[in-house]
């Protein structure tokens, strides 16, 4: 098992959570976690692992910090 801190931003946190420390199986990818949250992949506007953009296939490691946001364009 690995531990990953997950931050959900904007509407992704509705009926879910803001921040959680998640226990995940080794080999869990950004995409598989997104599916587990029942978020359609195409609705993910930004996925950052430790502050850097990561593709859906990116495998998560113990201690990673993941931010997921819907499509937001700016301010």
């Amino acid at each position: 098992m690995i531990e990953v801190t997950v931050h959900l931003l904007a509407t992704f946190r509705n009926d879910r959570f803001k921040t959680e420390l998640q226990q995940l199986a080794e080999g869990t990818t950004v995409g598989s976690l997104v599916s587990a949250f029942a978020i359609p992949e195409q609705e993910v506007g930004m996925a950052l692992v430790n502050g850097r953009h990561a593709p859906m296939a990116h495998p998560l490691n113990h201690g990673d910090v993941l931010h997921l946001a819907p499509w937001i364009a700016g301010g």
């Binding site: 904007a10 803001k18 930004m46 946001a69 819907p70 937001i72 364009a73 301010g75």
Partner: protein
């Protein structure tokens, strides 16, 4: 037919002129910059009699096109010494367009200590002496003019503009009798130098705006509105959270300026986030989604109430919230909202002033996080124009010099807003190269760097592609600024192939032209080169297209540094 309205404050007379043919196809920023470049000597003192203050509505302003009510104000900036265009929402652009005002040019300086107001209506423009409103804040001016003249459009300066502070803005009455601002570059000081306290705009009895092809216009306007509503940025994100949606996004990317640009993350980000702002507003019965102009379908503004349900401010932007919240470490939306209200009333740019406060904190004027100290500074020092108040009102660069601070986030003397260029490098290229000094709105690379707007993410921490991205965006932004369109139209314009052709169709249907989308590119290039030529003649060279030295130091926690060479930045102008 549209006309040029000219007000000579030296002679105290007004005239109306036909539009010269080379200005006929211009509006908004393209026009203010063309006029300033032609009529203002680049080396003049920005607060002297040779500078001119120019207002121009966008080419689509006054029509039924949604989000087309931005007004451009232009002059030589007293803050930067460069050419300046600063645009704002509110009601003024629509009213000016309906009055047939292609541009309003204000020149000269009157003799003596008197103050004046301008009245612009279907009879033309007139100069009237003003006594009652001198020294008053912007909200009092709006209220008094509503009693005196009815619900007219108003452009006004606060005490900061009267005192010719370099951060003074020009405020615009919005549809609810509140304020929007031509914030950047000290244009309020230019208006103050001409001793004009307000400009009242009344379109009563003005004929309806003529359209060359009404049916074509309506069809294109519908396509345009649909493109805005269909884009997740303008259709969902901004209407829900306002621009403060960027707090958590930029924090996650490690580019949230904190403690005067020392760190890129703020531990209390949730206290000032768009999500928290929305919850707070709804809880108190305010309005989380409000438009800055009639005909706005994005509604990124909001009406913020205090704990007792009393109005505090509206149109509180990400930049103000971030710079006071994280960069000055205040971390309290109530204090930030009160500060926003005070800055609007006094009439100062909330970006320049907030960054100046962060620099003042670094210089030991007050501690980081001292929200009550900031409110006292605004109420007692800035409004009164004490020496400390004038120091803050001179902007971030001035405060840095006075207090011996070396970490001073400015380019060409204008404060860098709420995105650290080390972690979001595309916006750094815009800060460095913009003809306006540091200005995120000149080429908003953040959207592509972080969210992939316009065809995919350009990695924010790498140098690859950033110069090309900023160049493309700066050229495209001239189009928005010249049509009177909200900056956020840039998002559907980048992602939805129906958007830009719809803008061209509206323009053609409005004026009976046969322009193509390529024409916009040419307008952008010509305008940027015109502005650049003004700046070069004013004494600016490549060496001024640089970020401050401290950005070479690593930003925590990412360790990102600003690593562009001068030669790499200079590639920007190869077009």
């Amino acid at each position: 037919m549209d006309k040029i309205f000219r007000v000579d404050m030296s002679a105290l007379n007004c005239s109306v002129e036909p539009v010269p043919s080379d200005w006929a196809a211009l509006g908004g920023r393209a026009l203010t910059s063309a006029i300033v470049a032609k009529e203002v000597p680049p080396t003049c003192h920005a607060l002297g009699e040779n500078n001119k203050l120019v207002f121009a509505p966008g080419l689509l302003s006054g029509t039924t096109a949604v989000n087309s009510g931005r007004l451009s104000a232009g002059a030589k900036s007293p803050l930067t010494g460069t050419i300046k265009e600063s645009n704002a929402g509110g009601t003024a652009a629509q009213v000016l367009a309906r009055l047939g005002v292609k541009a309003l040019i204000i020149e000269g300086i009157p003799k003596g200590d008197g103050w004046y107001g301008l009245h612009l209506n279907k009879e033309g423009v007139s100069i009237v002496e003003e006594k009652e409103l001198i020294g008053k804040g912007n909200f009092a001016v709006i209220e008094a003019l509503e009693k005196r003249l009815g619900k007219t459009g108003v452009l006004t300066i606060g005490p900061a503009g009267e005192m010719k502070m370099l951060s003074a803005n020009i405020s615009v009455r919005d549809i609810d009798g509140k304020l929007r601002s031509h914030g950047r570059g000290g244009l309020g000081a230019v208006m103050g130098s001409k001793r004009i306290k307000f400009i009242a705009l009344d379109d009563a009895g003005a004929p309806a705006l003529a359209l060359a092809d009404p049916a074509k216009f309506t069809a294109a306007a519908r396509t345009f509105a649909k493109a805005i509503m269909n884009h997740p940025g303008t259709g969902q994100g901004l209407p829900t959270y306002g621009t403060a949606e960027m707090v958590n996004i930029v924090n996650a990317a490690g580019g949230l300026p904190t403690r005067n640009f020392l760190h890129g993350r703020y531990e209390h980000n949730e206290k000032i986030s768009g999500e928290t702002l929305r919850e707070t507003i709804i809880e108190r019965g305010g309005n989380p989604s409000h438009g800055c102009q009639s005909g706005c379908v994005i509604k990124c503004s909001q009406v913020f109430l205090d704990k007792k349900g009393k109005y505090v401010t509206s149109g509180m932007e990400y930049e103000t919230i971030e710079i006071l919240g994280a960069n000055a470490m205040i971390g309290d939306l109530d204090v930030i909202a009160e500060a926003d209200h005070l800055m609007d009333d006094i009439g100062v740019d909330s970006i320049e002033t907030s960054v100046a406060i962060g620099v003042a904190m670094e210089g030991g004027v007050l501690p980081f996080g001292d929200g009550q100290g900031v409110l006292r500074l605004l109420r007692e020092e800035l409004r009164a124009g004490t020496p400390l108040g004038r120091a803050i009102g001179s902007g971030a660069a001035g405060v840095g010099k006075l207090y011996g601070v070396t970490r001073v986030p400015v380019v060409k003397n204008q404060a860098i807003p709420a995105y650290d260029p080390r972690a979001i490098k595309g916006i750094g290229i815009t800060y460095a190269t913009s003809t306006m000094g540091a200005d995120h709105t000149a080429g908003y690379a953040v959207a592509t760097n972080l969210m992939g707007v316009g065809g995919g993410v350009v990695d924010p921490q790498k140098k690859d592609g950033q110069v090309e991205l900023s160049r493309h965006l700066q050229i495209a932004t001239v189009m928005l600024d010249s049509m009177g369109l909200c900056l956020f139209i840039g998002f559907p314009a980048a992602d939805d192939p129906s958007c830009v052709p719809a803008v061209v169709d509206m323009l053609n249907a409005r004026f009976g032209l046969e322009l193509t989308p390529e024409w916009f590119g040419g307008l952008g290039v010509t305008t940027l080169k015109t502005e650049r030529a003004f700046n070069v003649a004013a004494g600016f060279g490549r060496e001024h297209d640089r970020l401050p030295e401290f950005f070479r130091e690593p930003l925590s926690p990412s360790g990102a540094v600003w690593d562009f060479t001068g030669e790499e930045i200079d590639q920007f102008w190869n077009f």
